[in-house]
Amino acid sequence: MGFQHYILVCGGTGCESNKADEIFRHLIREVEEQKLDEKVQVVKTGCFGFCAQGPIVKILPEESFYVNVVPDDAQELVTEHIVKGRPVERLLYREADSKKHARVDDISFYQKQFRIVLRNCGFINPEEISEYIARDGYAALEKVLFEMAPEQVIDELKSSGLRGRGGAGYPTWMKWNFTRGAEGERKYVVCNADEGDPGAYMDRSILEGDPHSVLEAMAICGRTIGADKGYIYIRAEYPLAIGRLERAIAQAKEYGLLGEGILGSDFSFDVELRLGAGAFVCGEETALLASIEGERGMPRPRPPFPSVKGLWGMPTVINNVETFANIPVILVRGAEWFGRIGTEESKGTKVFALTGKIKNSGLVEVPMGTPLRDIVYNIGGGIPDGKQFKAVQTGGPSGGVITAEHLDTPIDYEHLQELGSIMGSGGMIVMDETDCMVDVTKFYLDFTVEESCGKCAPCRVGGRKLHNILTRISKGQGVPEDIDKMRRIGRAMTKASLCGLGQTAPNPILSTLRFFQAEYDAHINDSLCPAGKCKDLVHFEIITENCIGCGLCARRCPVLCISGERRQPHEIDQERCIKCGECFAVCKFNAVLRA
């Protein structure tokens, strides 16, 4: 291949929704029109991770990093950069504090990252199996088929120290070993791609950007445990990932890497997709299996564990997308190499979806044990709009918060648990001073109450009770006893609920009570929401001395409850005010008071 330039266009959902596909087509057309198709290849890749700057176009070998590109920029990119060799300055990414344009390697968002799982995301065309193969793809499967006994694969995973990336952190080799040892007519490999945690999209990006890594790992798992069939249970809300997976499966079959007699061996393995239908509880493994079986996705008591009695009563391995994506690399580069990354108990890397009140939101992969401060400030670039950092939430509706005093905590399974949070699937949501902890906690409880399947009473009744109390508190109707009551209900749910959803549902409350009880107390004792978020506890007033009567707030008010003569101080009708805060936001003279 004699291409002199490669133009990589990010094809993740985020950029795609911002016309990345149109940019891609415009670039191809430009390249063709300028008769450069022998010198330049335009590739649509998986997610680059730097979603806040999208759509992104990267040009190799110069490593130029163009951000916020629009379709009409295509011509300039080709004419200037490719033909004349002059970078298009206005589109190049710059660090906030520097006037210099950054090459990919210099961008601080990428500097502290270490990409194992995302090794191919943003480099290869995910719709082309040959590009995956060119980067050592399917080499691990070949090794497993012809050079390694199943026990050796399990030993290798054991010494690598890989633990499940879906949340609980269970050692992967043990799951495989149990299933391998279990009796059953048939065995199954299941990939959990039901990424239901709001604010997390690691798995989606892996599937969109590097679908073959998951297929390869599933086949390796099948060979190791003695299964010939795999299912990927994926959210129906991820159409792009579904499409890329379907294409990848078809291509792998065509190449003899899936299907009958893989690579001429006696091993056969097939993968099928099953679509979820929007039920968070289906991320729980027994509920997920019920859903693949076409039933209501309700969990059942364990034991028996799925490794012994899983899909259709047969021994089943269930791993999460990111866990699978680690496996081919471990087998190619060796457990020893993998074991050198991360901490004593938590090996390897973790991908996080860094979102919320953060400058560089996007997908980041860091070695286990990286301090939270590095992620928030060095990679994430800190909090926008000059606001104060308040907390980071990890683990979504099952997790908790980490506060400023713990910013130097190394992120791994153990340390997060000590702080009352969990690793979870990798959502990392940054909150600033304007976010109210009671309000955010209520948001999570809204979620778990809605998503509770209703099978067991602790979750069904306990969750509702907690939600009722939180609603009262956020309206200023709480009583001091509420705090203790929530702790007691929470403990009961943790102990008595049937599955992980109910067991962890009280975590957001217990965690915020631990670090932010003062905020709850303010709501209860003083009917005050310190962050100014809980609508029933704030009111808006016009400060007569500051108001010049410009009338902007009155025009913006959606319920027209602000009145006053022109150039005279205005007034808010408190009866009709819906507390939307629009007047506060638009006033240029600090004449609206939020209290």
């Binding site: 709001p198 997390a200 099953r274 239908a277 039920a279 079986e293 039933e295 009140k357």
Partner: protein
């Protein structure tokens, strides 16, 4: 005789059912196909499915009502889904729903009288980097502000 024709399963849906008939656990996949065809799962179709697959209607409804994705009511010609994932919530997803209510006069899970728009709140669509996000008929709009909503609505109303 009532003028309405007897409901039937379209050929495409029937083909799909036949393809999946012997697959274990096929019901959810078939319901996905039905919803793709009709935009929701009409009661008459569920009755036909029960006969076709030889399963009780109650089981089909059990599954439909368990999963948020399946709808029993016909949605608007344009389906607006406002993301209420955590990142979008923190960045003002709720304000978008409020503003849509002001503009369209309907709340969440409702359809406008003319059948043009329906609004729903959905779980994370996975574009957290672009929060707040909404989708109209699957097309994603990122970093949406309240001020952009009238234009977004107008664009789809005219389509």
């Amino acid at each position: 005789m009532p003028a309405t024709a007897e409901p039937t399963l379209s050929k495409d849906v029937l083909d799909f059912i036949n393809e999946w008939r012997d697959e274990p656990g096929n019901l959810i996949m078939i319901l996905h196909r039905v919803q793709q065809e009709y935009g929701f799962v009409p009661r008459e179709i569920s009755l036909l499915l029960a006969k076709e697959l030889d399963v009780p209607l109650a089981r089909i409804y059990g599954v439909i009502t368990f999963y948020h994705f399946f709808k029993l009511e016909k949605p608007g010609r344009n389906q607006i889904s406002v993301c209420m994932g955590t990142a979008c919530y923190l960045r003002g997803g709720e304000d978008l729903i409020q503003e849509l209510e002001n503009l369209l006069g309907i709340g969440v899970n409702a359809v406008t009288d003319d059948g043009e728009f329906s609004v729903e709140a959905v779980r994370c669509v996975g574009c957290c980097g672009l929060a707040p996000v909404l989708t109209v008929n699957g097309e994603v709009y990122g970093k949406v502000t309240k001020a952009q909503l009238p234009d977004i609505l107008a664009k789809h109303r005219d389509e």
